[in-house]
Amino acid sequence: MDNHPGAESPLQSSSARAPEQLHFTGSGAEYFGIWIVNLLLTIVTLGIYSAWAKVRRLQYFYRHTELAGSSFDFHGSPTRILIGRVIALGMLFAYNYSVRLQSALTIVVLAVIAFVMPWLLRNSFRFRLYNTSWRGTRFHFRGTVARAYRVFLLNGFLALITLYVMAPFAHQRLKAYQHDNSWFGRTRCSFHARAGQFYLIYLLLLGAIVVFWLVIGFSGIGGALGSLLQAQKHGGHSNPQAVFRVMAILYGAVIVMAVSIGPLFHALITNLIWNNTRLGEHRIECNMSPWVLIWITASNFVLVAVTLGLFIPWAMVRQARFQLESVRLFPASDLQEFVAAEPETIGAVGEEAATAFDFDISL
């Protein structure tokens, strides 16, 4: 880490200050009341209330997240989120219909969506960060639109034509775009992870997936599938029950993979990203255990399924607590010295459109 001679005495360097851990103080039972009322009002208002519900949900989680004795806050306005949702819904309809009704129009609609998407995603970063604050000082995202096109369109295209060989590179560039352009007040964040480190984790992911399917194949399930295909090739009647059994096994295998390899990858990549992000001179450490995350994800999945969703509030709180509390900030100087930047106004269109199209933007 760079030394700042004159600004502080050596005794006050990062090693001398105690690390500050993020704390999450919410509880599942408490959140259940908020969640169920939100759900009821959303149903009764045919979805209109969902924008207010979203603000309450984010406020619940932000305000229960504490750093150095002060909590975060979310300032997004529900009406802006509602406008964003309406536009996002319109785009989603246009997308669905153009994909189902293949015609010349499909290409036009997809091209328009691809063209506005980088701009929307960049806006969604801006909206989310600008409406997040700690101790009354807001975050900001200052990435340019031009870079957004490069990061999303160009790198995405590169990943696609190289059959995803370039995907880890594209992911690294995306995170660099996000974190290098994030500010807390007038203090800028910086991102230091290299593409090589992303490749290492992606290789591990690939290895885990290969091993998983080899195990599935050797444990006889592959045999059942093979004989089924064989029977079909020879024009014989395939037993519908056998088909159903194979489909159920495949579906189950995909679920098992998603609740084991999924969290494993998520923990490793999140640790990498945050361990290599700095807020000004302040270092961040993220130490999420992949095994605990696998346990939480898998048990949440089972409990949500068994309770037909009633466990959702507890599941969300469990997951948030574990993920947030694995993050620590190593202050290089006094955390009272951040200065706020000038206020701006930012619309919510980007964020809603981006989430409607299922882009996972984990910040």
Binding site: G26, V37, L39, I43, R63, E337, F338, V339
Partner: protein, 336 residues
């Protein structure tokens, strides 16, 4: 007296202050701070569990309060009243009521609202939508699941002629196209596509030896075409999928992808009954007995007896129940 952290909104400096109410004003006093604001201009955050609440002042500065009980005491001395959503979120009775109401609304919406909306929407979608969907479905199935029909062209023409000679109860004759295909996998079966096109499989024609009974099956399929049932099913499954994704999507994208088909069996049975009723009415309108459809069903059941889960009958109510219902209809039409 209430302790709070004061922030000026321009830096992250924490100042410890005491809050008190004097008359109509809130007094903020502490480390280098001493001011009062009319309470009417103070925005109080709603309660979200045990999270700290903020009192926001008109100049953009605010206080973060952790002692929620003491804050309640302070607020009770002012004109502040909690919002109704705030109160609902906090009380167990409301939470339980909301839980019951959610389940009841979801059940009612699924049972009545959704089929009603799907039926209305299916009737109002432009015909082009059904047409395009049908062309695509057929393109997808031809060559994979469907093979060209092996039935003699003369026989097909004869059946088509009889089909088009049927008179519909609402007037006119069927404008549905009748297509013949064969499919070893699907056996004795018939389908109606979203635009009303009816696909008949060879096994169905060969396993029913009475043309009037084949026409009864066509009448049943015309019921599906008349009610636009395949569009309804499509809309129904999209809506169920969208709701499920909204409901569990936050926590598990995987659960959100759970097939909507799991909850659709009963809905499609309802549509089958509707098609039976329409078919029976159509047969009666053409001077034929609805019992013909019951006879056809019997033969189809026999032809499917060998395979375990026969295609034509799996998404349908039990054959016995349908036959009983049709015979009842036959009796009632006779008496008119």
């Amino acid at each position: 007296m209430l302790q709070a952290n004061y922030f000026d909104g321009r830096s992250t400096r924490v100042r410890l202050v005491d809050l008190s109410v004097v008359g109509e004003d809130l007094v903020i006093a502490g480390e280098g701070i001493d001011f009062r604001v009319p309470f009417i201009g103070v925005k109080v955050d709603e309660r979200l569990g045990a999270a700290p609440r903020r009192l926001r002042f008109p100049d953009g500065t605010f206080c973060e309060v952790r002692d929620l009980a003491a804050l309640d005491t302070l607020l009770s001395m002012t004109a502040h009243r909690d919002g109704w959503v705030d109160r609902m979120q906090r009380h167990l009775q409301f939470a339980l009521f909301a839980a019951v109401a959610c389940v009841a609304l979801a059940a009612a919406g699924y049972e009545w609202g959704l089929p009603w909306a799907a039926a209305r929407a299916a009737q109002h979608l432009p015909p082009a939508v059904g047409k395009t969907l049908s062309v695509q479905t057929l393109k997808l199935l031809d060559g994979k699941l469907f093979m060209p029909s092996k039935i003699a062209p003369e026989r097909r023409q004869a059946l088509s002629a009889k089909f088009h000679a049927l008179r519909l109860p609402e007037g006119g004759s069927p404008d549905s196209e009748l297509l013949f295909r064969s499919s070893p996998q699907l056996g004795a079966n018939a389908f109606t596509l979203p635009d009303g096109t009816i696909i008949v499989l060879d096994d169905l024609v060969t396993s029913i030896d009475d043309d009037r009974q084949i026409l009864a099956v066509f009448a049943h399929e015309l019921g599906h075409a008349h009610g636009r049932h395949s569009l309804q099913l499509l809309l129904h499954s999209s809506a169920v999928g969208a709701f499920w994704a909204f409901y569990v999507g936050d926590i598990s994208a995987l659960l959100a992808a759970a097939p909507a088909a799991l909850v659709q069996a009963r809905y499609s049975q309802d549509l089958e009954r509707q098609a039976d009723d329409y078919g029976a009415a159509l047969l009666a309108h053409n001077g034929m007995s609805p019992a013909l459809l019951a006879d056809a069903l019997k033969k189809l059941a026999a032809s499917h007896a060998g395979t375990s889960a026969g295609g034509y009958l799996s998404s349908h109510p039990s054959t016995d129940e349908r036959m009983r219902h049709l015979l009842l209809l036959a009796a009632s039409f006779k008496s008119i």
